[in-house]
Amino acid sequence: MATIGSELAQIKVPHVNLGWQLPAAGRELKTATAKLEGGQPGEECQVTVGGDWRLNAPAPVWSGVIGGRSATRVRVVPKDLGKWDTSLALFLVHGRAWCDTKKIDCNVEALPLNLQTLLQQFAEPGVFQPLANPAVQSCGKRVAIRVQHWVDQARENIAFIGECTLGLMGVAQHPRRFRWLDCLVEMQQCWVSSLPIVSLVSFLVGVTLAFQGAIQLRAFGAAVYVADLVGLAVVREMGPMMAAMVVAGGTGAGFAAQLGNMKVDEEIDALETLGISSVNFLALPRLLAVTLMMPILAAYANVLGILGGMFVAATMLDIPAASYWVETQNRVGMMDVGSGLMKSLVFGLAVGFAGCLRGLKCGRSAAGVGAATSAAVVTGILLIILADALFAVIYHGLGI
């Protein structure tokens, strides 16, 4: 089958003599020049181009060379023309455009053949037809489109919640089919990545609360009640909340980036075409992992927060650690701890939901992954605050 090679080799374009030279020309590069000769009204003018034309060096501009002159015909000729690149082509394109507006002939036949070919390429309109610009829309239509977008998004979110619920019900019915290993790996990831920041943030929240509380309580000689204040605030509110915020910023964003990247690489499409639900396969293990991990992290945050308060009380307020602990035990009951942990369970669900939803609905580009990641954090925090407010109302109603 040697004929395939020889036949195809025949269609090769012959090598032309090139005006373009390589950087290692072994000589100093000259300045690009363009000189005008003639150009009186009613006569032909000649533009002589010479020197080395490079994009990253100053070069003459057509309007500067031609000035305000007019001519019956323009001839461009080379003289000592060395290296040239697109900067010369640009100069000539401007020249040709100028001649077109004056309706006069622009003769470039004296220029190197390859430069002429390049100019022809620039003259061709190209095979691509640009997409038609969308017509300018009225204000009402723009609002309608925006509203429709919100409705579509809400529908997608509800569908996702529905799919997750069905998936969770499926897990309850057939627990052996669930990807427990993935779930455990995600729990481990969540724990490892969140622990240092949760430790620091919770401890400092305890310290801050103790400081702020001490200033007020000291005025009434009730500094020991700082333990009550810190204990209740941390256990009921700040511990679960801070743990959830940290997990939303770390694990939640991680879920969105990971799933978003999978979407860009068509991995999610590959699952769907195999008839495997991306929600069951990818979202549920993550959702469950973060939901189960959140109360553990919140309990840990509670301990660190109380320790933070104890640290301030012992070092600044002269309250012995034992008294602080007894006071905390007296005031903080299991109901307080339980209500906080209950909340953290819902916070975990919210963070996992936001991360997985944004990841799976991500755009198919690097920018889309970035947008999905930040949207996951924003949605996660928003859902946490909303859930917290809802719990405050419910607990108030229940008298907890």
Binding site: L8, A9, A24, D85, N114, S365
Partner: protein
């Protein structure tokens, strides 16, 4: 070619490179002459892409030297390296267009970084480059809005933005239909003939090899280096290595179709 032989654009001497403990290429030497169109061919896993990564500076060789225009690229300091890099254009296999930017912005970025051109001049040059590759008027589109062939053209426009002396192509026809692939080949030839660019193409598209290559080097994973070097038609006819001859004379119709038992 002129009578006094010019210095080679690329001169690779005794190049050894790999990943960690694995040596992919060992003691490879070849040079590329000005305006030459060289194909790097070979079976899967023979080190074509690794060689390309070494040539464009993404992978550091463990031994040997790569020189551009007589200047060493391997031992160059940061400043010299940057100067040499400015003479390259690279068309990546997956195009590597920046997805958050429009085509015009993609092509404009190298000009913005490496030249002192005004914004208006840059815009005009971008328009010329896009016209040259047949994408006139598409500057405001994002890569996601383009077909595979158009993406390749846009990536070529970006690779040509700085009028590079050398353009490297990694599988330029990958994933394109035969007609688009032929148009791409035509475009590559046009660019070479107008700008005199030296080109190194990694590909195993037989039709492109015969249409474009002045010369081809054939890599093999067993010897971790070059087993044949010459014009493809000559290699196909008279190479001593049967693997090279088989590769270049591959007949797509030569598969034995088993007699089907399905009606």
């Amino acid at each position: 070619m002129t009578t006094d032989t010019p210095a080679p654009v690329i001169d690779v001497q005794n190049l050894t490179c790999g990943y960690g403990e694995t040596v992919v290429l060992a003691g490879v030497s070849f040079s590329v002459q000005p305006h030459e169109l060289l194909f790097v061919i070979g079976g899967s896993g023979c080190g074509k892409s690794t060689l390309l990564r070494c040539l464009i500076g993404l992978l550091k060789p463990t031994q040997g030297d790569i020189a551009y225009f007589g200047k060493s690229f391997t031992t160059a300091d940061v400043g010299q390296r940057r100067e040499i890099l400015k003479t390259f254009g690279v068309l990546y296999q997956e195009n590597a267009l920046w997805s958050s930017m429009t085509l015009a912005e993609n092509v404009s970025l190298p000009l913005e970084e490496h030249t002192a051109l005004s914004r208006r001049d840059r815009e005009e040059i971008v328009a010329l480059k896009l016209t040259q590759v047949g994408l006139a008027g598409a500057g405001n589109l994002f890569p996601a809005e383009l077909s595979g062939g158009m993406k390749k053209r846009a990536a070529l426009a970006r690779a040509l933005a700085l009028d590079p002396a050398v353009v490297f192509f990694d599988e330029p026809s990958e994933g394109l239909d035969p007609l688009t692939s032929r148009a791409m080949d035509q475009l590559i030839l046009q660019v070479r003939e107008t700008l005199g660019t030296t080109m190194v193409i990694v590909s195993h598209q037989l039709s492109s090899i015969y249409r474009l290559a002045d010369r081809a080097i054939f890599l093999d994973h067993r010897v971790k280096g070059i087993i044949a070097d010459g014009p493809p038609a000559e290699l196909a006819a008279s190479c001593t290595d049967s693997q090279v001859r088989d590769f270049l004379n591959l007949d797509p119709d030569s598969i034995q179709r088993p007699k089907s038992s399905f009606k």
